[in-house]
Structure formats: structure tokens, C-alpha cells
């Protein structure tokens, strides 16, 4: 037993929860029209090779729109990797695979640091 089951289960349900948020955000943006930029305008710019002048991920208002909720869902699913790794570490450590546990911890630190650096 090396905690692999915990890793898989946390990732599975983390991805499912993130997907649910992505659907809610899609509903807000596509059906209710709650988007930081009108969806028709976004697609017209995208298909024309424009960059939308970079999505305003640094503003609080953005996260109250459908687009923001989609991004939160995506990030939550990606970040579920971190608790999934952490849940396996005690099992690896206890089974004597201490270097692998340290590798796992380093992976979690790298992913979490990349996320924190981005958000800050």
C-alpha cells in the first residue's frame, strides 16, 4: 500500500468538482450572458488571431463573471494534484520509500509555488 489509491481518488473527484464549476461558468456566460467581454466579440477576436489583450485575471470583478467561474473550476481541478500528492506521502514514508516521498513533496511544492507565484 503506497497511497496510490488516495492519489487517484482525490484527483478524480477534484477533476469532477472542477468540471461542475466549469459547467456553471459556461451556463453563466453562454446562457445568462454574464461574461467579462461579450462572447461574440471574444470569438470574433480569437478567430481573427487576436489575443483579447490578455484576460484580466488580476481583477476581482473578473471572478464574478462566467469566465471567472470557469477559470476557478479549471484551477481547482489542476490544483487537486497537490492534496492528492500530500495524501500519499505518509504512506510512502511509512513503507520506507522515503526518497520517493521527498520527490512527491518536491513535485507538490513546485506545482503549488508555480500557482502561488502566478496568483500573486
Amino acid at each position: 500500500m503506497n497511497g496510490g489509491k488516495h492519489y487517484g481518488d482525490i484527483l478524480y473527484w477534484g477533476t469532477m468538482a472542477g468540471s461542475a464549476l466549469v459547467i456553471v461558468g459556461s451556463f453563466m456566460a453562454l446562457v445568462l450572458g454574464d461574461s467579462w467581454m461579450p462572447i461574440h466579440q471574444q470569438y470574433a477576436l480569437l478567430m481573427g488571431g487576436q489575443t483579447l489583450n490578455h484576460v484580466p485575471i488580476g481583477t476581482v470583478e473578473f471572478y464574478t463573471t462566467g469566465d471567472g467561474v470557469i477559470l476557478i473550476g479549471l484551477c481547482a481541478a489542476v490544483l487537486s494534484v497537490v492534496p492528492a500528492i500530500l495524501a500519499t506521502l505518509p504512506h510512502l514514508w511509512a513503507s520506507g520509500a522515503r526518497i520517493m516521498a521527498l520527490c512527491g513533496l518536491l513535485n507538490a511544492v513546485l506545482i503549488f509555488s508555480a500557482a502561488v507565484y502566478s496568483i500573486s
Binding site: S26, M47, A77
Partner: protein, 329 residues
């Protein structure tokens, strides 16, 4: 249908996604030009369906979806390369995230092997993503042409790897434990149902493999491909991991490796939520279907189709890259 009954959360996800898109198509009044509601919803629903198919092919062929998505979209649309590469990483990682649980439960993947291989992949991925952004800053619009040209050339190499099969080895002989692999005790086993026996293997050449994973991570992060296409050969040919375990480990490794590479693209604002949402949902639902179909589909047929697609796409990418540099009209 059986699968939808067996996994209720998959049914709910699929129904909610299709319901949301159906409501958007039928309830939202038509918008003004240049992009009418029907055109936008056509792209959204088309993206979801295409992503669903790509996820199934990716899981069956044992590669990430990024290697299919990124070249096709870069070759055949005008969407900005940074946005395509950011979306490509999402496509590459989500089928791996969702399929990790069943693969780990079956014993095909050992989490200890994944953690060791993921370390250089994660570092390479972040580095590749940052370099991609720096190249974009330094070269401006010309970086688009450069990326298309380089990716086209690289895909020819990927097609060659698939075509040659790389002398792949279903069940490599147990190598002698030595070096880093021996020190870390990297010996694993899993129950192979087709042989009705336990297959054991010893990881060899770990140092070389770590260097290769750093390179694979870098290329995956830079081009938004993920890197699953190269992970299977490294695991199987270099580290002597049995082919089935290598393909399964590659998906799990891909998800972990890209979990760090995606963040520089998010900071840059290259991840457009409305564009990426149908691709992500298609990967999650298609990834589960792909894992279920894995045992029923002839993998060789899928691989041949993939090689043909890679060759055609690489020609288109090289052509567009040369056009961008003004070499071709």
C-alpha cells in the same frame, strides 16, 4: 450505455454539459455580426465533440491529447499561438487527471515511479512555458511563424517515432539492478490479465531517463503538446518498463507534469476560459470513455490514423511557418 449507468457522475456531467449548450443554442437571442450566436455555439459544441473524440483516441493510443489538438488548431485556424498552446496543455492533461484513479487501482501505475519521473518533467515544463512567453515577447508576431515551423518539423520526428515503433518491447527482460535504480529500489510488478500472471520489472538507466524527461517536459511546455508521445518510448525503451505499464504511467505522469506548466500561461492571460471550457469538459468525459474502450479497440489502427494525421498536419504547419517568414507566397 452500460458505462453511463455504472458511473452516474459521468452521466450527470454529460447531461449537464449538453443541457447547458442546448439552452444556449435555443434560448439566447441571435446577436449581431460579425459572430452570430449560432456560429459561436457551433464552435463551442464542435470543440466539445472534437475534444471528446481526441480524448478517446489519446487514451487508446497511450498519448496526451495535446499532440493531436495543438498541431490541428495551429495548422488550420488563425487563433493566436499562445492561446492555442495554453489550451493544448489543458487538453493534454485532463484525460490523464481523470484516468489516474482506475489505472492506479488496477496496479498498472505505481505512484513511486510517477513521482521520480515527474520531478524533471515538472521542472522542464515550467521552464518551457516561461521560454515560450519570453520568445513571444522578444520576437512578437514572427514568433507565431517560428513556432509553426518548429512544431511542423518536430511532428515529422514524432510521426517517425510512431511509425518505427521504436523497437518497442512489450515485456522487457528484467535488467540487472544497479546505479540509481538499485539505490532507490525501483522494482515493480502488476498482474497482467491477458497472461494470467504477475509481470515484474526493474527500472534501469534512471539517470539518462531523468535527463530525457527534463527535455520532454521542456518541449511539452514550450509547444503546448504535453509530451505523452515521448514519455512512452522513454519509459519502455530506456527504463525497461513493460509497454502496457509505460502507456498507463505516461498518462498519469503527463497530468502531473503539466499541472505546473499551465500556470505561466494563465499569468500571461493566454488561457481564454470560454474557449478552453468545452475542450476541458470533452477531455474529462472522453477520457473516461477512452479508458473503458481501451480493451476493445485495435490500438494498431488508431496509431496508423494518428501517423497519417501527424504527417498531413506537419506539412500544413511547415507551409504556414514558411509563409510567415515570407519564404512562400
Amino acid at each position: 450505455m452500460k458505462l453511463l449507468v455504472k458511473i452516474p457522475e459521468l452521466s450527470i456531467l454529460l447531461l449537464a454539459t449538453l443541457g447547458c449548450y442546448a439552452l444556449a443554442v435555443y434560448m439566447v437571442p441571435a446577436a449581431a455580426a460579425p459572430y452570430a450566436t449560432t456560429s459561436v455555439m457551433g464552435i463551442v459544441v464542435g470543440s466539445f465533440v472534437l475534444s471528446f473524440i481526441i480524448a478517446i483516441v489519446a487514451v487508446v493510443a497511450g498519448i496526451g491529447g495535446g499532440v493531436i489538438f495543438t498541431p490541428i488548431v495551429l495548422g488550420f485556424t488563425s487563433i493566436d499561438t499562445m492561446i492555442v498552446r495554453a489550451t493544448g496543455l489543458v487538453v493534454a492533461m485532463f484525460s490523464g487527471l481523470i484516468s489516474a484513479a482506475p489505472l492506479l487501482r488496477q496496479g498498472l501505475v505505481d505512484i513511486r515511479l510517477v513521482y521520480v519521473c515527474a520531478l524533471p518533467t515538472v521542472m522542464g515544463g515550467v521552464l518551457g512555458a516561461w521560454v515560450a512567453i519570453e520568445v513571444e515577447h522578444a520576437m512578437g508576431p514572427q514568433s507565431d511563424a517560428l513556432v509553426r515551423l518548429l512544431l511542423g518539423l518536430m511532428l515529422l520526428g514524432v510521426a517517425y517515432v510512431f511509425l518505427s515503433g521504436g523497437g518497442r518491447n512489450d515485456y522487457p527482460k528484467m535488467g540487472e539492478a544497479k546505479g540509481l535504480g538499485k539505490y532507490l529500489g525501483l522494482q515493480f510488478s502488476y498482474f497482467e490479465t491477458s497472461l494470467n500472471r504477475t509481470v515484474s520489472y526493474q527500472v534501469v538507466r534512471l539517470g539518462l531517463a531523468m535527463g530525457l524527461f527534463l527535455w520532454v517536459g521542456f518541449m511539452g511546455g514550450f509547444f503546448g503538446l504535453g509530451g505523452g508521445w515521448a514519455m512512452v518510448p522513454v519509459l519502455n525503451l530506456v527504463m525497461a518498463v513493460p509497454l502496457k505499464a509505460a502507456a498507463a504511467s505516461s498518462g498519469v505522469l503527463l497530468a502531473l507534469g503539466n499541472a505546473a506548466a499551465i500556470w505561466p500561461y494563465i499569468v500571461y492571460g493566454a488561457l481564454v476560459p470560454l474557449l478552453v471550457a468545452p475542450w476541458m469538459l470533452g477531455q474529462v468525459t472522453g477520457g473516461i470513455f477512452g479508458a473503458y474502450l481501451l480493451s476493445r479497440v485495435k490500438v494498431a489502427v488508431v496509431r496508423r490514423l494518428l501517423i497519417l494525421m501527424l504527417c498531413l498536419t506537419s506539412i500544413k504547419l511547415i507551409h504556414r511557418g514558411l509563409q510567415g517568414f515570407g519564404v512562400l507566397p
